[in-house]
Symmetry: C2
Amino acid sequence: MNDKSKTTRPAAKPKARVAKGFRDIDADEIRGTREMLATIQRVYESYGFEPVEQPFIEYTDALGKFLPDQDRPNAGVFSFQDDDEQWLSLRYDLTAPLARYVAENNQGQLPSPFRSYRQGWVFRNEKPGPGRFRQFMQFDADTVGSSSPAADAEVCMMAAYTMEKLGIAKGKYIVKFNHRKILDGLMDALGLSGSENDQRRLIVLRAMDKYDRLGMKGVTQLLGAGRTDESGDVTVGAGLSDRAILAIGSMLMKKEISELIGPTNEELLCQLEDSEFAVNSTFAEGISELRQMDRLLLQSGYSGSRVAFDSSVIRGLEYYTGPVFECELLMETKDEDGKPVRFGSVGGGGRYDDLVARFTGQAVPATGFSIGVSRLYSALKLVGKAKTTQTLAPVVVTVMDKERQGDYWKFAQSLRGAGIRAEMYIGTGNMGKQMKYADKRGSPLVVIQGGDEKAAGQVQIKDLRKGAELAAGIATHEEYASQRLAQVSVPEAELVEQVKKMLQQ
Amino acid sequence: MNDKSKTTRPAAKPKARVAKGFRDIDADEIRGTREMLATIQRVYESYGFEPVEQPFIEYTDALGKFLPDQDRPNAGVFSFQDDDEQWLSLRYDLTAPLARYVAENNQGQLPSPFRSYRQGWVFRNEKPGPGRFRQFMQFDADTVGSSSPAADAEVCMMAAYTMEKLGIAKGKYIVKFNHRKILDGLMDALGLSGSENDQRRLIVLRAMDKYDRLGMKGVTQLLGAGRTDESGDVTVGAGLSDRAILAIGSMLMKKEISELIGPTNEELLCQLEDSEFAVNSTFAEGISELRQMDRLLLQSGYSGSRVAFDSSVIRGLEYYTGPVFECELLMETKDEDGKPVRFGSVGGGGRYDDLVARFTGQAVPATGFSIGVSRLYSALKLVGKAKTTQTLAPVVVTVMDKERQGDYWKFAQSLRGAGIRAEMYIGTGNMGKQMKYADKRGSPLVVIQGGDEKAAGQVQIKDLRKGAELAAGIATHEEYASQRLAQVSVPEAELVEQVKKMLQQ
């Protein structure tokens, strides 16, 4: 920071506004997310994964640049320079920091293979859009130190098992997998290898990634001369030959046919093996590794209906080297135009065998899966599976006599001791204002003790929910008042028991 | 970010190192902290506080500059400029962002008073030191919209109740409170009011804050001509008159006497009232407000032994306007030199009536308490009250035959289904390496099924804990081997039951 900030600081009152691309989160979402995270945690723990937490800030060079769509250096991340001139960045995912952690602690301290999980906020310095924020939470599980396809299969099965534990039934989600070597082999075979083709490869992969949304026509345009969308925006095409477009197109078509006839993973892999690209050795290696992965899936009862091969899975991040995964939810939701569409991806991952070697030069194989927490929570809400913990609003103990706050406070405290949420009113206001407050709070009950009740050793308990119900069926204000809502009077000593009883109703 | 980063980025391998002043957190601390946070959450919920979560990044002008010891503009915070030239900062506490939240959402959406809580990481761009990090977690509770001393008292009582719920017994902690107006009144009376005395006031408050550590001699020096410590470092003094030093000193002395004779809060307030400063109206107002606060404390059974007046409580943050609080743990620990000292502060807070008005111009009274999460966790560990959830390391299912991974995976999965942590070994390695892995993992049991066992429909379960115990009492390697450790063989169908039985031992 420097003097610039001084000059831009307004002398007048600052405007209270959340920063662009960020958001505040309300109580319902916090509680619902908390429950969801606890379930994921339990699953991951049951698979033997251990929690690790890392700082939000890392040296920029330790994070590396692996974001998709990153044209300028350090675009996409929030960065700043430290006192000692070193550049620091806010993490943009949880995988790059994990690689640093492993490289730093891998002198025998960690078991091998090392299974770990982590949840946390990550930051992207990108242009925000609707539903697209610059801070979001990921929940990752990673296995470091195993090159076995069993490790990849395990991560996919764990993702599937997690969905089911969260209440998303088998058939309502699918964990799809593909292999970078299949994509690389395809690029090779199409004459698109080498760094001079970086840009074209990216266009091809992005085009394939858009098949679900744009259909064959749009993809064909993107692979060829380019595409102009409805708004007139032009996307540059990859300029592939007709033969290449036909080859890629038929691979994507097969995917569409697959969805209709539901072949096994093995059938799909055989189909690839029969394709013209299989002469490419990278492509063939990919098929072989996926076949090993599928063996365990098959033996464990996860192949096909839960974890399925899908040649259209791309995953944008540049650090993947082997199998790549994506978890898609199949239930319907509405898109921006109100059209029904599949809910779509809630997470993904893959194998990143070179990420630790960036630091150490020594190959450390690794694979992992990352859940997009907010998206998954939205999905659970959509299907009515988001637990909102049924947190009841607190009972409000009203203050009739300011001199006797201590008594009211003790009422509240005795309720808390019995596990019941309770507040003593601490604003300034008469009974009407206090009742209005309780109403706004959504309180189920209020507790009242005036002078007469005190003298008789009694407390009143008013049921606001019942009051509202009664009021709904009552025409006039007089009738409303005459009902005196739903109200009981009990001895002080029975307060807790009575409140419990009324809350259970 | 700009081209500079490009030139500092090394072409060679980056070094894997956690950034200066940051740290990775291990599984034990994560699990222990998680339990502790859940307890605090339950308490705060039971008091009717609602969760709120806010972004890590706010506009710099919305956060304001309230850090102590802040000499340069924006020193102390991590900041960067957005695309649209606005300055953004990582939050340095959770109170300033809450003020923004309230100012932005206070058009009738929030109940009034509004009780909320939040936990989260905050960031300070400061020089790190031993045990002093640039990222740390706070857990805050705040009541906005009530100017009643009952709101201040409630927050203090809730802090006390939280300590007891965490297992810190009454008498092992104390929530201390003071009032900014008492400090301000004292400064007034000593002729140190006005902005021209900002620097001297700061020196005086810092000196008073150091009484516990430096004793009367050190404080007297700091209030007067200045102090030279053992290392030769010179601290500039406030240059007060002897009369002023005597007055402040006797106030601090009274605190020391208090600790010996344990007067009530009311006795202490009366003492202040009798002091020469009481003619100052600010000072007198402070006393009056504290007395109101103490009335509720007294009626509720919290005054004195749990929540005690202490005229030496300062709190550095500039935004406090009324009562200030500090929660101190009284059990002993060792300081850097190994000398026994009190554990000290684990949190604090106070009233900040002007923080929302910064934005809106309209006064919105507010008070709150913030817990330093890592410090509190260290304290709980020190007194053996940190729950480590007794998370057992997972059972390891070994792989004797790679072709049969699916069977092993199903063993693991059946254990998980019964709530037992289990892993299938996914590294490459013979039985010896797998046992070594299980050992390193701290696994209680391993499951083994070779060809013979498979043919007989049996599985072996080895108890590694017993093995270790036996080994400890056995002299020779032969004896060790002959014991065959502690090992049983059961039919496949009884695997889960048998593992459960052995884990319960």
